[in-house]
């Protein structure tokens, strides 16, 4: 007994079309300031290829397939782990200026005051 989860032909094309469209719209909303983390983040997302690598390796029946499957998992895992590590590091650095005493307004008076003393 098996479950038919496969998809063929046009269903696959619809999935591609909808996913591409969703990606375009979602990414289009990301501000330019976040483009580097976005790129490493999307880089991380295609690290899902490791799942395909695992499927291939677990189904390997020859040494050749084991070697290439091993490479697929190795590279895919590197893609996913590395992409995640650098993205979290970068995003942790983006801070709002709330942490500092409002730099834009208050010091304006200080400047005027300072000019007067000159």
């Amino acid at each position: 007994m098996s479950l038919d989860l496969g998809m063929t032909g046009f269903v696959a094309l619809y999935v591609f079309m909808l996913a591409g469209f969703a990606g375009w719209v979602i990414i289009g909303h990301v501000p330019a300031i976040l483009h580097t983390p976005l790129m490493s983040g999307s880089n991380f997302v295609h690290g899902i290829v490791v799942v395909g690598g695992l499927f291939v390796l677990l189904n390997a029946s020859t040494t050749q397939q084991q070697i290439i499957g091993f490479a697929a998992v190795l590279l895919g895992a590197g893609n996913a782990a590395g992409g995640f590590a650098v993205t979290t590091r970068m995003l942790a650095m983006f801070k709002a200026s709330d942490v500092q005493p409002k730099p834009a307004r208050a010091p304006t008076h200080a400047r005027v005051h300072h000019l007067k003393t000159h």
């Binding site: 375009w24 483009h35 899902i48 695992l54 029946s61 590197g78 590590a85």
Partner: protein
């Protein structure tokens, strides 16, 4: 009935992963929520990887005797690949981020190519559609692998100069044609079962070899400042390859994730090309430096250097200062010093903003990350479209390590090779200071009319040293006032 549980679990985990990826990327549309976004996407990845071990319950008959070894191999590969990349990702310097992203991207492309290789060599792909998609994914994945590695080597400084040989475009076209022809041979042999001249597996090896060589040839001639476009292209290509292999493996999570990344990479590629006022084809297929030099309009006037301390004091008494950092700032590792200077200005009541050109740096948005690393709050950082109108009401614009992206010739001089490129309108500020190591030209190899303007002074020196002098000068003022 029990046999269905692993399959259902895998399906549900992959579905959850696909959703969490989209949701996570959507959370990246604001710096405030972006951190949680990548965490959510990470959860999806963990779920999908854990669930994929349930494949052991439904392996092909031929693989059953090897299952024990295969599981061990899988765990070792996960630990080695994931561990090494995690370790390096936690340590890499922020300035080295572009090459690191290129490297991880190449790994993804390589993984997609390897999956395709197993499918092709093992004769697991059946039917014209599946074979064609596998071959296409293999080609794109392999090109992305070797191309990303060359990009990594260039960004890392292992390859110093763009390598350009005569007739390069013809050679690249020939390599591409050969790869496609060999792909046709593989397809023919696999469909008819009658190999042409060589064994099918040999053709497959040659196919991968050609694709890898093509990726190398395509990337070698591309120069350093074009890297934002190149990295974006390879990101898109890897996504596409992953999506295609997802179709071959009948795994919708791979299809969705791959295609989302493909679209993201395409969007960024187009944005970067637009910011350089060049088509994507122009970046990839022509060599910028080789273009015949057109006669530019001559620039009248002379360069007027000033002392760093004088420039620093002028900014101290300005009401509004906009700073334009370029790759030169990052190359001099002077971001920290710059923010130290900015904090002094802010304490003295100066309104300071940062203006970032889209292609500042070696990958999209790299300068924003470097400023964030130095501690600059993101609400002080503005992008080209949001700040360009501000220059006209600005007292001082400080340009550090940027050149072509502030050249007003892009607006005014039709003969200039960069005419039409969106630039930061620095020349409209009342006073401009340009920090530069010497009198050299920028990437485009052209003189900058900005530097000769009446409102512009040059501050020569290494960015670190110049900023140190500016800081000392402003501090000295404070001390004098207190005394």
């Amino acid at each position: 009935m029990l046999a269905l549980i692993p399959q259902l679990t895998i399906g549900l985990a992959d579905l959850a992963a696909a959703f969490l990826f989209l949701f996570g990327l959507q959370r990246m549309s604001s710096p405030a929520t972006a951190s949680s976004g990548i965490f959510v996407a990470g959860l999806g990845m963990v779920a999908a990887v854990l669930a994929s071990f349930l494949y052991v319950f439904s392996v092909e008959a031929a693989a059953r005797p090897h299952l024990g070894i295969n599981i061990v191999l899988a765990l070792v590969a996960l630990a080695l690949g994931g561990g090494a990349a995690w370790w390096s990702g936690k340590r890499v310097a922020m300035t080295a981020m572009p090459q690191m992203v290129a490297l991880y991207n190449g790994m993804g492309g390589g993984a997609a190519g390897a999956i395709a290789a197993v499918e092709l060599l093992g004769g697991k792909a059946h039917g014209a559609t599946a074979l064609l998609v596998t071959l296409l994914g293999a080609l794109i994945g392999a090109v992305s692998l070797s191309g990303s590695l060359i990009a990594w080597a260039k960004l890392d400084g292992a390859i110093k100069k763009p390598l350009r040989i005569k007739g390069q475009q013809a050679i690249n076209a020939a390599a591409m044609a050969a790869t496609l022809a060999i792909g046709g041979c593989v397809l023919f042999a696999a469909l008819t079962g009658s190999p042409l001249l060589l064994a099918t597996s040999t053709w497959i090896y040659i196919f991968f070899g050609c694709a890898l060589v093509f990726g190398i040839l395509m990337t070698l001639p591309i120069g350093g400042a074009d890297m934002p476009v190149v990295i974006s292209i390879y990101n898109a290509l890897t996504g596409l390859a992953v999506g295609l292999e997802g179709f071959v493996l009948q795994n919708p999570a791979l299809m969705i994730a791959g295609m989302v990344v493909g679209a993201a990479g395409l969007l960024l590629t187009l944005l970067m090309a637009k910011a350089m006022n060049r088509s994507v084809a122009n970046v990839v297929f022509t060599n910028f430096g080789d273009a015949p030099k057109q006669a530019q309009s001559a620039i009248a006037g002379s360069l007027r250097p000033v002392e760093a301390s004088d420039a620093g004091i002028a900014m101290r008494y300005a009401a509004k200062v906009i700073i334009v950092p370029g790759y030169g700032l990052a190359a001099a590792q002077a971001q920290q010093k710059l923010y130290e200077f900015v904090k002094l200005l802010q304490a003295a009541g100066v309104l300071v903003k940062f203006a970032i050109h889209p292609v500042a740096g070696r990958m999209p948005g790299q300068m924003d990350v470097l400023l964030a690393e130095a501690g600059v709050p993101y609400d002080m950082i503005f992008q080209l479209d949001d700040i360009n109108a501000d220059f006209a009401t600005t007292d001082v614009a400080l340009v550090i390590g940027a050149n072509d992206v502030v050249n007003p010739a892009a607006r005014t001089d039709k003969a200039s090779p960069i005419y039409g490129m969106p630039i930061l309108n620095v020349d409209q500020a009342r006073q401009v200071y340009v920090v530069k190591r010497g009198e050299g030209t920028g990437y485009a190899g052209i003189q900058n009319a900005l530097f000769y303007g009446d409102n512009c002074n040059m501050v020569y020196g290494d960015a670190q040293a110049v900023l140190t002098k500016m800081i000392e000068a402003v501090r000295g003022l404070g001390a004098a006032a207190a005394a």
